[in-house]
């Protein structure tokens, strides 16, 4: 404190800081990135452990016997699905009833804002079927959900088969203290959204659904099952949900604990765990796994049917069966026992899962990075913005209007675009979005026309001050909710914000600024994501993928209320435009 109360030393400190501003910024940035990369290094991470005492030991005896029969039921389901070419509602109702469940159906319909070409759907109509296993002597206050999507084609039949097999087995047990809801949802996420909205009687996305007849009280946890082969080599856990929300870490711990106990190979992000953390390849493997999670979380979209549960404060995860070329196979009985174990443990819960972390990254299934460890990396990047505060009002409004145009025009103008140009609706939406985005680059010339007189030296300083504060708050808030997205945005926007002044070489800086813009960040992310998944793509494919990612982002927003698209359009993009304005300040 003596440092602050001594005016001389205070002055010296400030001088030092101003003099060393640029190097300090560079050091902080490097340190931030280095810290982040260090997160994946095993000795720096924590081992996962079960926090919830009620699920503490895995000492339940799994006895699920009828995997074979479940697979056969799956085949029967496939046959009926093919026959009615869609959801075999009647057959499902009958089968669930025969297993002693209370069965209900829910119809829903939704017209997409524009046709989804990836999944080939526009006007969606479907029916969810769910059966409730009433817990003996529990008064319908709590429930667990096990869901399996009914996907078109040959996928996921085994998941439905196993779900029905488990329903039959669970029905004969006396120990249930929570109702168990077995849900087969039509049209994957749209069906799930309809069911969840129906269950909680809310309507956030303007979908039409028929009200639910039967309920089981407040849902404590949910698992979504995806299984497309009779035998699998490993089970993959998917955690990333809507808007980058994650389920409580205990759910992941539970899955890991039972995989260890039963001897099932388990993966996260499709990556097996490796023991050679001290080797370069081992470390890069961990980085790859963590980066995949960061990318997926940053996308803000639900990466499985579980993703929509998280909004309702229901801990949920998707469990995917993966069948690769490995020798060692796991059959349906073992997967059934895995799920049985997990449900028995969840059944033992006395309270909602709340003990463990809600904010984390996972470089492997057995290790995690908690919020306390990853936030410094972000802090080091954000601190660069603070000296920037030393520097002055303006086209703030115009930037935001451009942002609002980017948010609204693509959907509004799709019809007009389709009329005048030879493109499909989806392309129209994406191309309009890109067009509005690019048009925003012409902004500085237009704003200057609106401003009276010449821009002063002080003028851009004020603008920069505002822009920096804006960015700092924006990134800070984003990183709190969705660390991955915040970090990726900080990674590109912060250097842009730091170097930009009207006095740097224009052409070169403009190029750099465009490279660091949110749209290019997304483009790079697409390529990087493909690289991580070990499926590199050519530039043209990448571009097409990029376009589809944009359309998916917009669809996710309108269908499930994902917030990434409005965040980018209404906040991040206008903020970046401010810096673009500074660069072209006259």
């Amino acid at each position: 404190m003596g440092l602050l109360s001594d005016p001389n030393r205070r002055r010296a400190l400030i001088n030092l800081l101003t003099r060393l501003n640029a190097p300090i910024c560079v050091v902080c940035y490097m340190a931030g990135v280095a810290w982040f990369m260090g997160l994946a290094f095993e000795p720096f991470t924590l081992r996962t452990y079960m926090s919830e005492n009620a699920m503490g030991s895995t000492m339940v005896e799994e006895r699920f016997p009828s995997g074979e029969r479940a697979v056969a039921t799956g085949r029967e389901f496939a046959a009926h699905k093919k026959k009615v070419s869609g959801m075999p509602v009647e057959w499902l109702v009958k089968t669930m009833q025969a297993r002693g469940l209370e069965v209900y159906t829910q119809r829903f319909s939704r017209t997409l804002p524009f046709p989804d070409e990836n999944k080939e759907r526009y006007m969606v109509k479907g029916t969810n079927v769910y059966g409730i296993l009433r817990a003996p002597r529990a008064p319908r206050t709590e429930a667990l959900v096990l869901s399996a999507p009914c996907t078109p084609g040959d996928n996921n039949n085994q998941a439905v088969g196993l779900l029905l097999g488990l329903a039959q087995y669970f029905r004969n047990q006396i120990y249930w203290a929570k109702d168990i809801i077995f849900l087969v949802n039509d049209h994957d996420l749209i069906g799930m959204q309809a069911w969840l909205e129906g269950y909680h009687h809310t309507n956030t996305t303007g979908m039409d659904w028929s009200p639910l007849q039967g309920r089981g009280g407040s849902i404590q946890a949910a698992l979504s099952l995806e299984l497309s082969s009779d035998v699998v080599t490993s089970m993959d856990l998917v955690l990333e949900g809507l808007n980058g929300q994650l389920p409580n870490l205990d759910l992941a711990n539970l899955f890991y604990a039972f995989c260890q106990k039963i001897g099932v190979l388990c993966t996260i992000q499709g990556k097996l765990q490796r023991n050679d953390w001290d080797s370069v390849s081992g470390y890069s493997h961990a980085v790859q796994t963590m980066m995949l999670m960061v990318m997926k979380q940053a996308s803000g979209r639900p990466w499985g049917d579980h993703g929509l549960f998280l909004r309702y404060h229901i801990e949920a995860a998707t469990i995917k069966g993966i069948n690769s070329f490995r020798q060692y196979k796991t059959d349906a009985t073992t997967i059934g026992r895995l799920l049985e174990g997990m449900y028995r443990k969840l059944n033992n819960l006395l309270e909602r899962l709340h003990q463990s972390y809600f904010f984390y990254l996972m470089p492997s299934l057995s290790h995690f990075v908690s919020i306390g460890y990853y936030m410094p990396a972000f802090g080091l990047l954000a601190v660069i913005l603070l000296p920037g505060v030393l520097s002055v009002l303006t086209p703030l409004v115009i930037s935001h209007l451009t942002g609002a145009a980017l948010y609204m025009l693509p959907i509004r103008f799709q019809e007009m675009a389709v009329e005048h140009f030879p493109v499909s609706e989806t392309e129209a939406v994406v191309l309009t979005a890109i067009a509005v985005y690019t048009a925003g680059l012409a902004l500085p010339h237009n704003t200057h026309r609106l401003l009276s007189g010449e821009g002063t030296e002080q003028g851009w300083r004020v603008l920069k001050l505002v822009a920096l504060l804006y960015l700092a708050v924006l990134l800070g808030c984003t990183a709190l909710i969705n660390f991955s997205l915040g970090f990726i945005l900080a990674l590109t926007l912060v250097p842009a914000a730091a170097f930009v002044t009207p006095h740097v070489p224009k052409v070169l800086s403009a190029f750099v600024l465009v490279i660091l813009s949110p749209a290019c960040t997304l483009l790079f992310s697409v390529f990087f994501f493909q690289e991580l998944q070990e499926m590199p793509v050519s530039f043209l494919d990448g571009w097409l993928l990029y376009l589809s990612v944009i359309s998916q982002g917009i669809l996710d927003h309108f269908l499930y209320g994902s917030l990434v698209y409005p965040l980018i359009a209404l906040l991040v993009y206008p903020c970046w435009l401010l810096f673009w304005n500074i660069l072209f300040w006259k």
Partner: protein
């Protein structure tokens, strides 16, 4: 003697219809004259029963009919000839019975009723000290707390109306207690508090958690079931504990109240390991004053102990569609309780007249009919007081073997469900759905909602809609809550249109509790007790257009009065609501953080603010100091 016996059924009939009247009307307590007239004008029944009693003594016949022509849902099966022994020595009487109803879903419903009647007056000045059949612990409670009526139930599980139909005796999940006090009680709240604590001890239950925050005084929903003309609800207290778990420690004291304990009679079947291996378990004690004769000159106290249990086909039956006493209770019957004046088992065979649904063995020829819940039911009767019931093996093991497969879900005329809508921890909405499945009759229901204070109801958002239209309740009684003192009480009389769903919604805000008010498991959530829906439901018999099948034409044109409607009470499921909960591991972190902030931040800031700064003269150099010393010695002013 013959004449004497002949008049029994008439007496019996009067008693039955009287009790029916009390329960069904549940308000009026005087006997309506036309009721008597109808009884007296009914010599046919009398003759029929006379024939039956004769047949009983005569030996085994093809099908004998028992004299219980009319029976009621709540006050059912009290009508046995033995009750009406005109010789009032001794003045107390005990009956036991078990009704077994094979349910539509393949499950099985067993309902025990034990009734002790005692002609005495607890309220008179002289203390009652000699107890025979009536349990002394309860007798003392009645006289000490001036209780007029006491109803207590402990239930584990939720009655599934859609699969099982209506129960004989409805009860909400958890514990429910409602008491009418005598109008001589001056401080009802204090008496109530003391009574709950005493009952808590008697039944080994957490009834001591009943306090002013969960007690209400319903104005219309809970009327006295016994005689008495006081309906001022100041003397009524109603409370539920939805979280109460019922287990063996509650069953044991309950069994101890029985005259034979669990040593003999039907009570030997009450083995906890089987009773609690079921889908539904409910035990109750009802105490009320009843009339001893139809003129009601003398009254007696009735203690009715009931136990309802539903065994699950899949869990307990191992999927085999076969039930026996041994399979259900792991016991068979060998004798009646020697103290009981009547001891019977009834099996509901209404849906099984020709044995096409299930097979019953050993067969019995004794049959009985009764009006239960607006439906005429037929029962096979096993009289345990008769030695030949037990057969040659000296033990009775009833066996029911299903032949058909399980059916679809039922559509009971009245059923209700409730849930919390919305997400997030700030607000929410309670939806109560009431279904009227009657094809053409509308009927009124009385809805009682008692919501704890920590859900702050926005009563202006209360809406009642049926078929998309606003349905204005004809009566609303609302008592707002007071924080930490009393709950919300909402009572409404709503007309349910035929074949419709009526939805009652009300929004609420979740209160932030003080940190000591949270339960030890705050993240589990907080319970809101069941809504109570009381109604007179139009009878299914009246709905049945083919009722001419068995009845003579002249009897079937106008629906007769007893059958036109019946009383039903439906409880919705309790709600589990999450309140905003602080992270309780946080205080440690907060203490650490605040200490640090105070020590470092506040300290230094205070230091900075209060310290006065002044530029310090730079201290002179060594040469200068030496020079000054020399100058001082020389007497010249220093530099």
């Amino acid at each position: 003697m013959a004449a004497h016996r002949c008049c029994f059924p008439v007496w019996l009939f009067i008693l039955c219809s009287f009790s029916l009247f009390i329960i069904a009307g549940s308000q009026e307590t005087t006997v309506a004259p036309e009721q008597h007239a109808s009884v007296l004008d009914n010599p046919q029944t009398a003759a029929e029963t006379a024939e039956q009693t004769a047949g009983e003594s005569g030996g085994v016949e093809e099908r004998r009919w028992e004299g219980t022509e009319v029976r009621d849902a709540a006050a059912q099966k009290q009508a046995e000839p033995a009750v009406l022994q005109p010789t009032p020595q001794p003045k107390d009487d005990f009956q036991e019975e078990l009704v077994v109803r094979p349910l539509h879903s393949g499950d099985i419903y067993a309902s025990f009723q034990f009734r002790t009647l005692w002609e005495t007056d607890f309220m008179r000045g002289n203390k009652v000290s000699h107890y025979r059949l009536f349990p002394k612990s309860l007798g003392q409670v009645i006289s000490k707390f001036s209780v007029r009526e006491l109803h207590i139930s402990f239930t584990q599980g939720y009655w599934r109306t859609m699969q099982w139909g209506q129960p004989y005796l409805p009860s909400p999940p958890g514990a429910e207690l409602w008491v009418w006090f005598q109008d001589s009680v001056t401080d009802v709240d204090a008496t109530w508090k003391e009574l709950t604590n005493v009952l808590s001890g008697i039944f080994c239950a957490s009834l001591n958690f009943i306090d002013s925050t969960n007690t209400v005084q319903p104005s219309a929903s809970f009327k006295p079931l016994g005689i008495g003309n006081v309906t001022d609800h100041r003397f009524l207290r109603y409370a539920t504990l939805p979280r109460e778990i019922v287990c063996t420690e509650n069953l044991t004291p309950w069994k101890k109240l029985l005259p034979c304990g669990s040593k003999a009679g039907l009570a030997v079947l009450l083995k906890s390991e089987k009773l609690f291996h079921s889908s539904f378990h409910s035990q109750a004690v009802h105490i009320r004053p009843v009339c001893q004769d139809w003129q009601c000159k003398t009254t007696s106290w009735e203690l009715r102990q009931t136990l309802n249990v539903v065994f699950d086909l899949h869990n307990s039956g191992q999927g085999k569609r076969e039930w026996s006493l041994f399979k259900m209770f792991s016991r068979t019957l060998t004798e009646a309780c020697p103290l009981a004046s009547s001891s019977k088992i009834y099996i509901d065979i209404t849906d099984n007249p020709e044995g096409e649904q299930f097979e019953l063995s050993p067969a019995t020829s004794l049959l009985s009919q009764a009006m239960v819940l607006g439906d005429r039911r037929t029962f096979s009767v096993y009289d345990l007081t008769q030695q030949d019931t037990f057969g040659s093996v000296r033990s009775l093991n009833l066996l029911i073997r299903w032949k058909s497969t399980e059916g679809d879900m039922l559509r009971p005329l009245l059923h209700a469900e409730r849930y919390v809508a919305g997400y997030g921890l700030q607000t929410g909405e309670i939806h109560t759905l009431m279904y009227n499945h009657h094809p053409y009759r509308s009927f009124p229901v009385l809805l009682l909602d008692s919501v704890p204070w920590y859900l702050r109801l926005y009563i202006h958002t209360l809406t009642v809609t049926s078929k998309g239209k606003d349905n204005k309740p004809s009566y609303i009684h609302y008592q707002p809550s007071k924080d930490r003192v009393r709950p919300h009480l909402l009572e409404m009389l709503v007309q349910l249109p035929p074949n419709s769903v009526t939805e009652v919604t009300v929004q609420f805000e979740r209160a932030l509790l003080k940190w000591t008010e949270y339960t030890p498991d705050p993240n589990h959530g907080f319970y809101v007790g069941s809504s109570v829906i009381s109604s007179l439901v139009p009878s299914t018999v009246a709905m049945d257009t083919n009722s001419t099948r068995e009845r003579p034409l002249f009897s079937s044109f106008f629906p007769c009065k007893e059958e036109s409607s019946y009383f039903v009470r439906v409880y919705t499921e309790p709600l589990l609501v999450n309140l905003p909960t602080p992270d309780f591991s946080m205080p440690y972190n907060v203490i650490c953080l605040t200490c640090t902030v105070v020590a470092v931040g506040y300290g230094s800031l205070y230091n900075l603010l209060t310290r006065s700064f002044q530029i310090e003269e730079p201290s002179p150099g060594l040469a200068k100091r030496i020079a000054n010393v020399i100058r001082k010695m020389r007497g010249v002013p220093p530099l």
